[in-house]
Symmetry: C2
Subunit: 199 residues, 2 copies
């Protein structure tokens, strides 16, 4: 294998091992075996199991999001929900992230990396979606991007990753309406559906 291929094989093997046994039981031996490389090949690249996991989680979290520029808040939310629903079905979300969240309470390095990665992600989405909606006058100018993300991502995360109830198209359509109304509720701009009533 070439150098880049070895790194790719190690990363893939790590994700599979993490999903299969979790961080607590993960061994570098098993990752090496699954990747078809020597333990030395892993330790040449990363100092520890922790380093390896943190780098790969950070890389996965920086994966691409859809452009989120449909011209309306409803359109952007619909697109984002589809992307989030897809991402949450990946083992990274259903197994690896819960594992690492549990580890974070025991390990300050995991805690710091997860916080940083998640907050960068929140701010990225906030920057794209919330700020554009504010510019278009769809959301109050004082909308707090972090609070908005809680309202946007929280219900879907709860549904898929925690309650693990089914997701239908009509559920997603209703969720878009709920979130639009919820986001509009705390600011100066009236709820989009309520606006015509005021005329």
């Amino acid at each position: 294998m070439l150098r880049g291929e070895i790194t790719t094989a190690i990363r893939r093997a790590l994700m599979q091992e993490l999903a299969a046994v979790g961080y607590g039981r993960l061994s570098i031996e098993a990752v090496a075996r699954r990747a078809g490389v020597s333990k030395t090949a892993i330790y040449r690249r990363w100092n520890s199991k922790l380093d390896l996991v943190l780098e790969i989680v950070a890389a996965a979290a920086h994966g691409k999001l859809p452009a989120l520029d449909t011209g309306t808040l409803r359109g952007d939310l619909t697109l984002l929900f589809q992307a989030v629903a897809h991402a949450l079905r990946h083992p990274l979300a259903s197994q690896i992230i819960p594992d690492l969240l549990a580890e974070a309470a025991r390990n300050p390095s995991i805690d710091a990396t997860l916080r940083q990665v998640l907050h960068a992600r929140q701010q990225d989405i906030g920057g794209r979606l919330v700020n554009r909606a504010v510019q278009r006058g769809e959301l109050p100018a004082d909308t707090d991007p972090d609070a908005a993300i809680d309202l946007i991502v929280g219900p879907l995360y709860w549904r898929i990753a925690i309650a693990r109830l089914p997701l239908t198209d009509s559920y997603l359509e209703r969720l878009v309406e709920s979130v639009v109304a919820g986001l509009g509720a705390t600011g100066a701009v009236p709820h989009p559906r309520a606006a015509p009533m005021a005329g």
Copy 2:
């Protein structure tokens, strides 16, 4: 120790071990040592580590909720959010539940128990809070309790357990308004704030 005391000591030791090392690394030996009992005392009561963990999670999840009968949806949500915020700071939520969610993808018994416990809990809250709000005319009659719970619990869960950003009183006040607006958005009943505009 009396029989009941032994059981209590085992339960407490299990929660502490689960929080400290996670399900994957949990050993009955360590639970017995921490509880000050023999391994036999544990195996006399539970067949396996899995049985022990499942019974204790189910018991914890059936802990009491506030009465949620303040007379308004806003009042009930405020009370529920305070209870949820408190519960989510317990190690059960920050460490044990994420661990078990990760295990659930690998273990059908954990998966089934978690689903059952969480769904019973959702329906319990739904029955109290959503149905009363429907009866008072604050929410549409066709409100789906499961979808409502996603919107009610999801943002707070995301904030505390995933993004782990700070929680302030003003955040919680705004979240109540957002959730009330979001819940009212998908049905026939107008948004509470929008109603006066229509007059």
